[in-house]
Homo-oligomer: 213 residues x 6
């Protein structure tokens, strides 16, 4: 059958010029050691790709919620799960102990869809028009958060809550508001000027989140 030889030929041509880059573009498993570009990581040599590049098991382990927010976000973005590189999708697991909170944050690079797997979660986002959309979700409810908007998730019950989220990007990013403001070296007076928060409040949270300046 001609089709098959043709593809062999093109593969041979490629092999002859390079043994490490084939023509398959169905997928582009990320090679984290190679250059990355605006569209993502370089592609791993398809000849070395196995099913294990497309399967990720780390979301089976509950994140450690013994922390300030009694919560954990375990990402399966391209940097952790290279199989999604270039496919426009990725995921993460959210664990919320009783009283747990994923504080206000954004994903600059993608929209998010969340499904509650355990417990009840109050989730919400704020639009550019400053309208608040929030609701308490029960097991199996799904909620969508449009790209780039501030949103949060809070454990609404007395038991552990768990959620699985997916994103419309293989590298959606995660900007946690408190970390962006209080977890780096942005000077207190500049934070005060650009947030109208009191300096005492800013310094109090910097002390908690490791900020300086």
């Amino acid at each position: 059958m001609q089709i098959l030889p043709l593809f062999f030929i093109s593969c041979l041509l490629l092999s002859s010029s390079s043994s490490s880059h084939a023509a398959v573009q169905d997928f582009c498993v990320g090679d984290l050691t190679a250059p990355q570009g605006p569209a993502g990581y370089s592609c791993k040599n398809p000849s070395t790709v196995t099913v294990n590049d497309f399967v990720y098991s780390a979301l089976g382990i509950a994140g450690n919620t013994s922390n300030l927010i009694k919560a954990a976000v375990t990402p399966a973005f391209a940097a952790q799960f290279p199989g999604v590189n270039g496919l426009g999708i990725s995921s993460a697991r959210i664990d919320l102990a009783p009283g747990g909170v994923v504080p206000f944050h954004t994903h600059p690079g993608g929209s998010e869809i969340l499904i509650v797997l355990q417990g009840t979660i109050t989730a919400g986002f704020v639009s550019s028009a400053n309208t608040v959309y929030f609701k308490t979700l029960k097991v199996a409810d799904i909620m969508v958060f449009p790209q780039g908007l501030l949103h949060f998730q809070v454990n609404a019950g007395n038991t552990v809550a768990t959620a699985f989220v997916s994103f419309s990007s293989s590298s959606p990013g995660l900007q946690l508001l408190d970390y962006a403001l209080f977890g780096n070296n942005l000077p207190t007076e500049l934070i005060a000027a650009t947030t109208f928060l009191d300096s005492a409040q800013i310094k109090k949270l910097k002390a908690v989140l490791g900020g300086t300046g």
Copy 2:
């Protein structure tokens, strides 16, 4: 504060010209009664949008698996869950009774990420290079299926299996191979010529799946 009045002004301008189309583009909740275009449904008037447009609860109900494939796929695409319209993401629930199978299918419009919520599932896909990638997944394993490639999910255990899937499109489409071949009026001889299946085999499956011709 000038910023706020400015936005009021722009809203007033819009309102004066039209009370049913505002300027918010953070999201575009689908209006299923209005024209749709290549990018999706027209946007519902933002002033009538509530949090319930962004929350969907139908995936909490197990699909009916009393059928040929002992399986059900319950979609939450833009047509069922208009809140995802234009956001580049959607979801679905998969229920697999013991022996249940989601037969070979493709999503022409998006990549898919699957998480096993219950039971064990053998899932796989075939690349353009005809390489098969399949594995038996346990609870909390995730697997990604690149856009447009043939893939399947099979219950690998003796108990009910459930999965939650997300897509990199608000309308990924779903083309079930058996339905495409045997569930319509495509003439048997044409199917035979384009699949090399025996006519008897084709007619047998047409009888099961309601195909004619």
Copy 3:
């Protein structure tokens, strides 16, 4: 010349089926009274489009900075300047009185490039990795702010400062942090839980920005 008649013919065909929708897709001047979709507003009938649809003069007027932030942002997005609809670009003017500040905000839908036209401005953004990038810019310096990241601009001098900004979207959106948190009906306790701010601080800012709950 055949080419021209051919286009006349296609126009006639269109006209015969509809006098209000032509085939030009070079541009799609927004019709704010027609349905909008995920890609933007419906197109104004090209036969009624004039050069004035592509020119906007409102940025010539300084925004009113007699307000809390001593600053004003005057947008020229698709909602104000329909000529940019669908062209992937838009602009705005920033006026900063002495002491003026454009507080922390994001543009969920696009990257921004800023040029200082007058005065000196300290501008900065925070990355997903919580690194702060900020600098004091002089006249004619340009700075780029990646899509969706928190950023700010502050008048760094004792005179009026002005900037012109452009965006990689005709509707980039504008989410002002303080308005998102303190300018709506998000309950104080929920804000406290999701920001770790003290209730007193939250109530103080709600009083200033018109928030309730």
Copy 4:
């Protein structure tokens, strides 16, 4: 089988709210009488779509080359062939009598690939770096022209030449340099100032191409 009923249900839901907009997004056959947006025409009701919406026969007729350029371009863009609307592809036929020329032009919206069906054609384009790439093509040679760059096709033989071209957009546009400069009401002095052509030359070509001013 559950999958099928599910889709029936979603169709019923849609039908109940509207008999003229279904959920299929595999394709979006253009409805030239409905509003168009930045992404293309509104979709024709899928229930009225037939195979004839996806087939176009007008390219079987040679364009009339009894004209100034001894050439004709017959487009099969979304405006002529609505089946390509939203699919990111379209085509056209080029007829070149002996001495025929498709003068310098651009397609603002897409890249082009050309195959020679008859005769020999000298085709070329110029890059942003002002490098010229041109070659005489024989039957079955293909050549690609990157989006937006000035290019041309000339009959290189003494017999009729024909080509079939495709574009990476359903509405690539066609801007013919001579028509853009000399076929409208752009004042001669403005053309002279912006092209450095002599006024006599400009007026000579305006007379041929119907320009005024």
Copy 5:
């Protein structure tokens, strides 16, 4: 003239830092020996690009149809014709001997437009809604096949048929149904479970197409 020097300067700057990567982004001729990313191959150094990178002549040779399907598909994708890399378009030639068939297949990465050059071809596709669209095409008829949907082409006459096809991607991919199912090591029982085909039928086609397991 200042514009020109400016560009020289920018080129010099680039050259100083690297002699092998220039700033031209009009095109990105694929360097098949360099890393590839989700958007395609790395760009060949523009200074070494010639017109021959944009011209491809292999489609002038009829594919060998002395095979099972009496047909051949000769691709001109980025892997064979690197000049299309990143331009969102590519092509292929289809040869059909009498009785020839291009069996059911999909292109996961792009839509296709076909023109009949010789003979008559019955072509069709099936939508996600399982509707079949097929028709017998004569010379110069064009037909469009939406991205990712199963489609086929069959020689409808007693003479050789030839077609030229283009795609809305430089690497659309090609998944042949029979090869995906019967041309690899997917276990027979798994194929049976996911297609409802009889094991005998599967083994019969595996024997023909080189499948194992």
Copy 6:
């Protein structure tokens, strides 16, 4: 706090495999010495990125207008300002001495928005339908030029005019009509055949712009 360690972990993993490629995708500052792909330059190692990568000061210097067109265009594209790489935006400065002209040109890769900073400028573009849109702009007027269309800017006054422009691409390209036609080695007879200009006119402009052939 679990979120933070998680990100440390992912960074460590990356560092272990490679010290020069981190996971941040908020931005991709161009590394002009590394391979570039269709989406832009490879990303500079984020750990070496500073605020100076996002700030560019060269537009503060007036371009040299002592030239044929009494004008200068100073680009801040990805090749000059690598911080915009992959962000879908870039800028440039236009200087027009009295009598200065930016001759007819296109940007194949993006739409443009212009703001007049000094003087008065007559600017215009021509659509695919050969309609001319031009107007004399005063200080602070903005005008948008759709992607790929021929446009120009002319100093409309007796004083220096200056403009700042932005583009919807980090590498929009710049094709100057006169340079494309008269500034390279395109043979005079081919230019004459494809533009209908007189040979004398062509040779006159080639002499001015350095064209040969």
